[in-house]
């Protein structure tokens, strides 16, 4: 390949005592897709933020096409031909697609050059097969479309190198294929791409070369990802071998949660229609489906956030009369929400507060309306130790923790009270292998203890690995249920599209 498009040499960046990057070297050639791998907190985002001008490195140089450049801000980066799609999008929701593309682009004599923008947009569509209705407001776009818009924004500004920070974390599996096709086409036309992920199968399918970061340093480089095993790469990432958890044979008991013809109304997203299902003690029920087929409503009903319009629900034999989080909790329900940052935790308050939040009114943490700060602290400290939650202590701001540690904290707060039923949504989304493995092991341990668990997820591999039975949701209904033994990715995939009905009810 030709001379590198971008070269980073000896990049070091510290935040206080944390060395987020240490002497990192990395280069990307034109037409190359470079995978940047690493566990959460390995320093991937920091490194890319240095390249994009958001952070000034403590040491090191950046070369663009062989020439050293100073990148002090994103304008410098864009001028050097570097575009970045952040983990969290930077779009103006009320403006249209075209207006978002034109933000910050000087028009003719102070006027916005709409015609020029449209022409350029059409060109990008032709070149890379990326298109969006230019007049739609961003708020009307799906997450996948917003991501496409971010990529188009970078191309619009003439990016020669495109950085994508965990782009697949927010996508449904079906959307991932579309993204990969677009990225391959761009690389085919000479664009350099840095693709950040910790999903090894994706990295192996897409990238030409990989750099693996661990604790801020380069832990290894992989020259032929397609022919390197996931296990070998996982070992580079974690520094030790990863063994899949062993799952004991299932011995399900009586049903601990039963939904009987539940329907919902008046909810954002697809409502439930006549959903009946059950989960038994000592059993894991997986709920598969393309996102947006009622999973959100199902989780909300079971966790007490959304009272159903019709139907009944029983927990350990007791019929639920009041659909409210506290009442369901009292019946023995544990819950882990899909969105840990907005629904699960209070990021601005101490971690301990989030960990006791659902049970603050119980005798464990208060008496006659007075808090017991010592008990709250002790509980948090105990769980931090038991779940190996990496943080400075229980009084640290919850928002300062990484995703994996937050998820452990949420798991700890529910499991500490021995739920009979556990409902979890997307339990390992955004987590690295080590953290995901930890969560899986906890689920299996709870299963062994007789807890009935419902796992709502999009990652079919994960569902197949965990579940004793898998139900598929399609347009607000249960399209069918397969036993763990008969379920395969292919069968589930078919059912998820609404085809191939199975007659067996859940």
């Amino acid at each position: 390949m030709s001379a590198p498009l971008i070269e980073m040499r000896g990049i070091t960046k510290s935040f206080g005592a944390v060395k987020a990057n240490e002497a990192v070297d990395l280069s990307v050639a034109p037409g190359e897709i470079l995978g940047l791998l690493g566990e959460n907190g390995a320093g991937k985002t920091t490194l890319m933020n240095v390249l994009f001008g958001a952070y000034a490195p403590d040491a090191g140089d950046i070369l663009v096409e062989g020439k050293p450049v100073a990148i002090r801000n994103s304008a410098d980066a864009l001028a050097a031909g570097i575009g970045m799609v952040h983990q969290h999008f930077h779009l103006a929701p009320r403006l249209t697609v075209l207006e978002n593309l034109l933000i910050g682009i000087p028009g003719k004599s102070g006027r916005i050059d709409r015609a020029g923008g449209l022409a350029r947009l059409a060109e990008i569509g032709r070149q890379h097969g990326l298109s969006l209705d230019p007049n739609l407001p961003v708020s009307a776009l799906s997450v996948g479309e917003q991501q496409r818009l971010e990529i188009m924004k970078a191309l619009f500004r003439g990016a020669k190198l495109l950085i994508l920070d965990e782009p697949t974390a927010v996508l449904a599996p079906s959307e991932v294929d579309g993204l990969f096709a677009a990225l391959r086409s761009m690389a085919g036309q000479g664009l350099g791409i840095i693709f950040i992920s910790h999903k090894l199968n994706e990295v192996r399918a897409l990238t030409h070369r990989c750099v693996v970061l661990r604790h801020g340093k380069v832990a290894g480089r992989v020259d032929d990802p397609a022919n390197t095993t996931s296990a070998a790469m996982a070992e580079l990432m974690c520094g030790h071998e990863i063994v899949p958890p062993t799952k004991a044979a299932s011995a399900p008991g009586a049903s601990v949660l039963t939904l009987d013809r539940i329907s919902t109304a008046g909810h954002a997203g697809t409502p439930l229609r006549d959903v009946s299902l059950f989960v038994r003690s000592g059993e894991i029920l997986g709920i598969a489906g393309v996102s947006g087929n009622g999973q959100r409503a199902l989780a909300d009903v079971i966790s007490g956030m959304l009272p159903p319009r019709a139907g009944t629900m029983t927990i350990t034999g007791k019929t639920v009369t009041q659909f409210a989080p506290r009442e369901l909790q009292a019946l023995g329900l544990g819950r882990i929400p899909e969105d840990r940052m907005t629904t699960g935790l209070v990021t601005n308050l101490p971690l301990a507060d989030s960990m006791v939040l659902p049970r603050i009114g119980t005798k464990a943490f208060s008496r006659k309306g007075l808090l017991n700060p010592a008990a709250i602290r002790a509980f948090a400290e105990e769980q931090i130790k038991a779940y190996d939650i990496r943080c400075p202590g229980p009084m640290v701001r919850a928002g300062a923790l990484s995703g994996g540690n937050l998820q452990k904290a949420l798991l700890a707060r529910e499991l500490a009270f021995d739920p009979k039923v556990l409902i979890v949504s997307q339990p390992t989304r955004g987590l690295d292998i080590g953290a995901a493995r930890f969560i899986h092991e906890k689920f299996l341990a709870m299963r062994a203890k007789g807890c009935g668990i419902i796992v709502i997820g999009e990652d079919l591999e994960e569902l197949l690995m965990l579940s004793d039975r898998i139900a598929v949701m399609y347009e607000g209904r249960i399209a069918g249920t397969l036993s763990g033994a008969e379920a395969t990715v292919a069968k589930l995939g078919l059912m998820m599209t609404g085809a191939g009905h199975t007659e067996k009810a859940a």
């Binding site: 935040f15 309306g369 300062a400």
Partner: protein, 351 residues
């Protein structure tokens, strides 16, 4: 070149340092105005300081002024903790003043009268605060706007009362009839105006701190304010928390009114509050919504108010400077708060 970088944590000493930095910045900024008014800056601030805190009498006067602002500051601090944007402490104070004056004018034993005045004042304030809270919960009406506008409604209702049916028939002025002498709050130090209400205000601050920091209601208020969705998911009845917060906040502001009637004015007139409700917002922000911080913040503003009058007499600088200092202090504090979330980083030219 400088740039702002997000902080992951805020050092603890910031909580103390920020208000002090904001106050110093305010005094420096306002010294420009003193210079424009043609006075000597050091002399002007000197007069201000000695007139407000220079001797024991001045200190009692400052405390008497601070008392209503401690109450309104607590009212705002607690409301803002729950993100109930109560800008209506002024109206709640006025309602509390009217109700307590009404009760105080009824002949009954002194201490019973004082107690009932406090209860009536608190209840009236709470009732007024309930309006924006209910509108927000039931109809999603913006609480900033509704609570702010309600101030004018109550002010003009009060004017209508004292110009009309409630006009003091004895004096003929647009003021309410005075409360019974026996209902006047006792003075604690002979020869000063330091009344019982001031002590109640000083006790209310640690009580409010305890409520926020050590009770389940306080916990629920904090969590609801920071993340209502997580609160709801965690089993907190968010609407009930908002209502409780509004009642509490309004009651505290109402107590400010009761204190002014029982301890300072003994009747209601149109200018019974020189904007103590609005000052409460400045106080709460300077205190960083910490009830314990409300006391020093209120004393600071009270000192500026009493000091400004003396300064005006001695140097000719208009007493309006006190309002400017208040406004500037709020702005300075808001700017200072930026630094709890961001740090300034020097970016070397070589980078």
């Amino acid at each position: 070149m400088f740039r702002l970088e997000a902080r992951s944590s805020t050092p603890a000493w910031f909580n103390l340092a920020l208000p002090l930095i904001a106050i110093v910045a305010t005094l420096i900024l306002c010294s420009g105005l003193i210079a424009v008014a043609g006075a000597n800056i050091v002399e002007a601030y000197g007069v201000m300081l000695s007139a407000s805190l220079g001797d024991s009498y001045a200190i009692t006067e400052t405390l008497v002024r601070a008392a209503p602002m401690i109450f309104t500051g607590l009212a705002v601090a607690i409301a803002f903790r729950a993100k109930f944007w109560n800008i209506g402490a002024e109206g709640q104070l006025l309602a509390g003043a009217v109700a307590s004056c009404f009760v105080g004018a009824i002949p009954m034993p002194g201490y019973l009268a004082m107690l009932l005045m406090a209860v009536a004042g608190a209840a009236a304030g709470a009732l007024v605060a309930l309006v924006p809270a209910t509108l927000r919960i039931k109809f999603k009406v913006d609480d900033v706007v509704s609570s702010l506008l309600l101030n004018s409604v109550i002010y003009y209702a009060l004017m209508a009362l004292i110009e009309g049916p409630w006009k003091d028939s004895f004096s003929g002025y647009p003021i309410s009839p005075p409360i019974e002498d026996s209902a006047n709050f006792p003075v604690l130090i002979e020869g000063t105006r330091l009344h019982l209400g001031v002590i109640v205000a000083l006790i209310a601050a640690p009580l409010c701190w305890f409520l926020i920091a050590r009770t389940t209601l306080g916990f629920r208020i904090r969590v609801t304010g920071e993340n209502p969705e997580a609160a709801r998911y965690g089993g907190i009845n968010v609407q009930r928390v908002l209502i409780s917060t509004a009642l509490l906040s309004g009651a505290l502001a109402g107590l400010a009114g009761a204190g002014e009637v029982g301890g300072v004015h003994f009747q209601v007139m149109s200018d019974i509050s020189p904007g103590y409700g609005y000052s409460g917002i400045v106080v709460a922000m300077l205190a960083r919504l910490n009830p314990l911080g409300v006391v020093p913040a209120a004393v600071f503003l009270a000192a500026v108010m009493t000091g400004a009058e003396a300064m005006s007499r001695a140097t000719g600088v208009p007493a309006f400077l006190s309002d400017v200092i208040q406004g500037t202090a709020l702005l300075a504090m808001l700017v200072a708060l930026l630094f709890t979330a961001y740090r300034v980083r020097r970016v070397g030219a070589s980078a």
